[in-house]
Assembly symmetry: C2
Homo-oligomer: 461 residues x 2
Amino acid sequence: MQERETEIVPSVSERLARFVIEARIDDVPERVLHEAKRSLLNFFGCAIAGSHDAAIEHAAAVLSCFAGVPTATIIGRPQRTDALSAAFLNAASANVFDFDDTHIPTVIHPTAPIAPPLLALAELRRLTGRDLLLAFVLGVEVACRLGNALSPGHYRRGWHITSTCGVFGAAAASGKILGLASRQMTWAFGCASAQSSGLVETLGTMAKSVGVGNAARNGLLSALLAQHGMTGPEQPIEGPRGFARVAGEEANLFAIVDGLGERWELLANTYKPYPCGVVLNPVIDGCLELRARHALSADRIARVVVCGHPLLAERTDRPDVHTGREAQVSAQHSVAVTLLYGTAGLHEFSDSAACNPAVAALRSRVVITRDSAVPVGSARVSVELNDGTSCATKVDQARGSLERPLTDDEIEAKVRLLAEYGLPGTDVEQLISAVWSIDQRQDVGEIVRLAAPAAQTGGNK
Amino acid sequence: MQERETEIVPSVSERLARFVIEARIDDVPERVLHEAKRSLLNFFGCAIAGSHDAAIEHAAAVLSCFAGVPTATIIGRPQRTDALSAAFLNAASANVFDFDDTHIPTVIHPTAPIAPPLLALAELRRLTGRDLLLAFVLGVEVACRLGNALSPGHYRRGWHITSTCGVFGAAAASGKILGLASRQMTWAFGCASAQSSGLVETLGTMAKSVGVGNAARNGLLSALLAQHGMTGPEQPIEGPRGFARVAGEEANLFAIVDGLGERWELLANTYKPYPCGVVLNPVIDGCLELRARHALSADRIARVVVCGHPLLAERTDRPDVHTGREAQVSAQHSVAVTLLYGTAGLHEFSDSAACNPAVAALRSRVVITRDSAVPVGSARVSVELNDGTSCATKVDQARGSLERPLTDDEIEAKVRLLAEYGLPGTDVEQLISAVWSIDQRQDVGEIVRLAAPAAQTGGNK
């Protein structure tokens, strides 16, 4: 449906609110619901793995001093806490390694801010899997459509779009569960607009997690406040001093409401196969392929040459790294660990892997070259062996890209590894099968409890 | 001390952090400390008066469902709550009527976001009045210096500067009390930068209070997180994607650190005599003067003519109002209630005053005229009586302006009225004398408890 922007602009918030409150699960294509399950499964794995990162330890310690009735599961951790604090911590855990999902057009990580408020609500009030799925799909729709409207200027200016747009998605999803009326949903957007924050400058530090955690917590809070009558502006998004105008650079308001209910943003969601910069995916794919095909071992390798679009070198030509965070954006490190260990998971991008002498030795034999003819997202990898022979491969589309998405099995495998990393020895199969069958579950609370140690304590601290 | 901006810019966050942690109360001029007491006293009055506004009722109801150990006083209310929730509610209460203080160069309301975290900390750990005064002065310094650097572009773009800069001030003040090291203080700024939010679009709605409440709560949270080791970027303010660059329009970073410890922003703080748009102050002053001098009564008045700078008419020529919020920006309403009742307080700007037929009748006989020769901040008021006579006055500088600040006695009188409005029948004299002598008090917690009903309950809900 084509409408002129002038007819759309004055009522963007209202139209978005009405769409959310009126949507029924039967309106959502099966393919979208299945993508929602994939997103949730990937989310649980990431949150379990991240749940003992130092940033989460610090946040949990501080929040526990002020937390209320412990109704909610903290994923991966033995304590329970109140719903708002759980939303914060679970969102922060899911995103702390940047191993969570990515909405390609906006680089929003949508599930981290949007699923946790719903899981917290599911333990406050009985919530069916179908209701959760619908609310989740709608929350992603709201966050990513705002992101589309503000991209690319918003992120480029320095706004951490996952947080700034995520809080609106969290509010929409929570408000759907709470059964808000249209007017209340607009108020919820208004309360979210007063809490939208997050800066790119914080990426690479623990403060990033504060922004992402707040997006989830404050989205839930916005919906609860609106339900209680907390009013907001009529045009929190499109108003002259509303979110899109103030935080956007030439926002395309039309993109927010165009084709609502016809196109679904979740279909542009992707899942990372490796916990590092996304441009490194084809490089790691190539290394895995060569290692398997030629039974490569590090001591036979004289030199590795990686060739990619100049962007690859620009972002990842980093021969010398000392921390896991640096390793995540180093092509040399990615090549070295992949060829050494035949896998590229969280352990391979840890501080200790970064400092491992064997990794450092192989890293020093990796060279990154530039070729504008290689498309972004592709890479060539050549390995020269000590015996004078060599082998090479070319990866056109990396695993985890929109063109070559992770299969359901691959997501499952990723989640098993992540669960083993965060909760060693845990049996994650129940959780995996519960998420695949979430649309048949009567009580989502049972599912989220599968993502925490069996014997959760009821109190804080 | 004049330094070139190029030398300053790379280390703004670090210099600000170091200033805050190194400052001692003996470095702060007596005049500044006295202004801090005036700000705090005005704050308590505003917070008591606002504490039962609908926005606060809604927020308190929602937060109580998730609140933790009730260590902290909610000003004006019978319940206690956890420190973070108390910081939120007390900040929101103080600012809900926009009757709190105004830092003239930035229009920041500084005390609302900055005092509440300190009061909450004072009930978590014993805190002397001197320590609180120093931390408060420093918090205001940080918030207002950021505001100076970003003004006027930041507010003009649509950022609610009280909230966006207030969270940094709250973090600085809280961090001072917690004894953060310089590096931790920079982290606290980093955590604050991830939480800086608030939109002008929300003004006039309850959602405004969400932004202001969060500034206080999240500033406190930032300091607590930093104390626990939550890292942040090294340049959260001046970095390429830091607060000043992202939320600022051509930010003047030099203004943040120039003359630190030599000039004090608190000396540019002012207190409103009337709970309405600040441009109406000289109009109300004139009406009060004429009413007293000529014993005017409404039935004798044929017409009132107000003449001011065109800005006055632009913002306040509003003959027809139906709510208290509209009344606050109506010159006609302000004139009518002042001449009718001889006072212009919260009751006179309530919904019921807006709908009062006697007020409406007099409003209809008020005319606003424009004269570019009248300076902004001044006004002429002429009253024509039914007997054909008339009287007039000219107010050059309004009460409550920087040039004609409220006296200590006038602030006391304002606080008595506000306390009577928020907690009718309460004895506020103890609170007033406690604030004036706060620098001699060993336990600030005792003072904040004087601002709540005597029999506070220990629990939530």
